[in-house]
């Protein structure tokens, strides 16, 4: 076990998925897939509702906008981003008693 200087830690990081915004009855946050594709995650219902979490994506080369369920893009997301999305969905719509999300 080494005891390196903690101030040298490389991880200064603020997850962009913390930037959830209320839009109507849903909650929207920006997302970037592993291949660089950018888009938005739209949360509109709890985990057990099909389509409760959707990804709205546009290919890097500017193709048509696609709307896909979260489950269809899991492999293209980083694990930490999936955690962030599922926690936001549970906090906004779930029944496990987590603190409310309070989107901006």
């Amino acid at each position: 076990m080494s005891t390196t200087n903690p101030s040298s830690s490389p991880s200064t990081f603020s997850n962009p998925l913390n930037n959830w915004k209320q839009q109507g009855a849903g909650v929207v946050g920006p997302v970037t897939l592993n291949d660089g594709t950018r888009g938005r995650i739209v949360l509109i219902g709890p985990r057990n509702v099909p389509g409760g979490a959707m990804a709205v994506l546009q290919d890097k080369d500017g193709g048509p906008v696609k709307s896909l369920p979260l489950t269809a893009i899991l492999e293209r997301l980083a694990p930490a981003d999936v955690v962030a999305i599922l926690c936001a969905q549970e906090r906004q719509f779930g029944e496990s008693g987590l603190p409310a999300l309070n989107p901006s």
Partner: protein
Amino acid sequence: MNTPRNIEYLLEEIITLPSLPATLARIIQLLNDPESSLSDVGKAITQDPAIALKTLRLANSAAYGLREHVTSVEHAVALLGAKVIQNLVLTATVFDTLSHSAGLVFQHSIAAGLAARAVLRAGPIRLPLQPDEAFVYGLLHDIGKIILEDYMAEDLMQAEEVSRSRRIPAYQVECEVIGADHAEVGGRLAMNWRLPESIASAILAHHDLSRCDNDDSRRYAALLNVADAMCIEAGLPSYEGAVVGDSGESWALLGVESVTIPAIMDDFFASMPEVQELTEAMS
């Protein structure tokens, strides 16, 4: 000239780490002695009524899933086995020693234990741990924060405020404000208490995996890192508004892929009632 603050300075001038509780020392000694029996272990636990009571409460909690209610420590030892009992006693003793000022850190620690357990349950991951062992790792990961709350509460609060305003993780600000972070303090406590090396190094490195000098140790720290991140993302007590660190390297080290995360999170969300139950069991 001002003396630079670092972990050595803090431990010499400001913080007195609590000594290893006698009951825990005795239990560890017995469990490492091939000539001692589980009955000896049970008797040693029973000699400390506070620890015996907490051990029984924990053993009967949903976290350990016993089908029958146990009313004696000897019975719990027989049903759960030496390793689980060692973890139960370790948990009960640590929180009995430190919980006078633990506050919300206590609830966060329980939630992190449940998060670590959920990761192990979804397996397979690259760690030779059982889910209930992972639970104990998570429970202990922030013992350094409890110590800092005891000795440097105002500095710790200032670090948390700066963390929120600058949007950087609190442990990084602790290094600036206090001179060391809670992981370093917790790691030192675990080493002083001669807790297993894998636990001590995981506590030390749970925010900075580079503090471990091999991949095996890094994976234990990675488990605590992702458990911590899960709790912060879930907005659990005392961490509302906290800034989550990058857990990407940790997930990769554990070998957990994105498609496994929904199962992990389902398990974690379903375990929320246990946070309250375990908080009461250990209070």
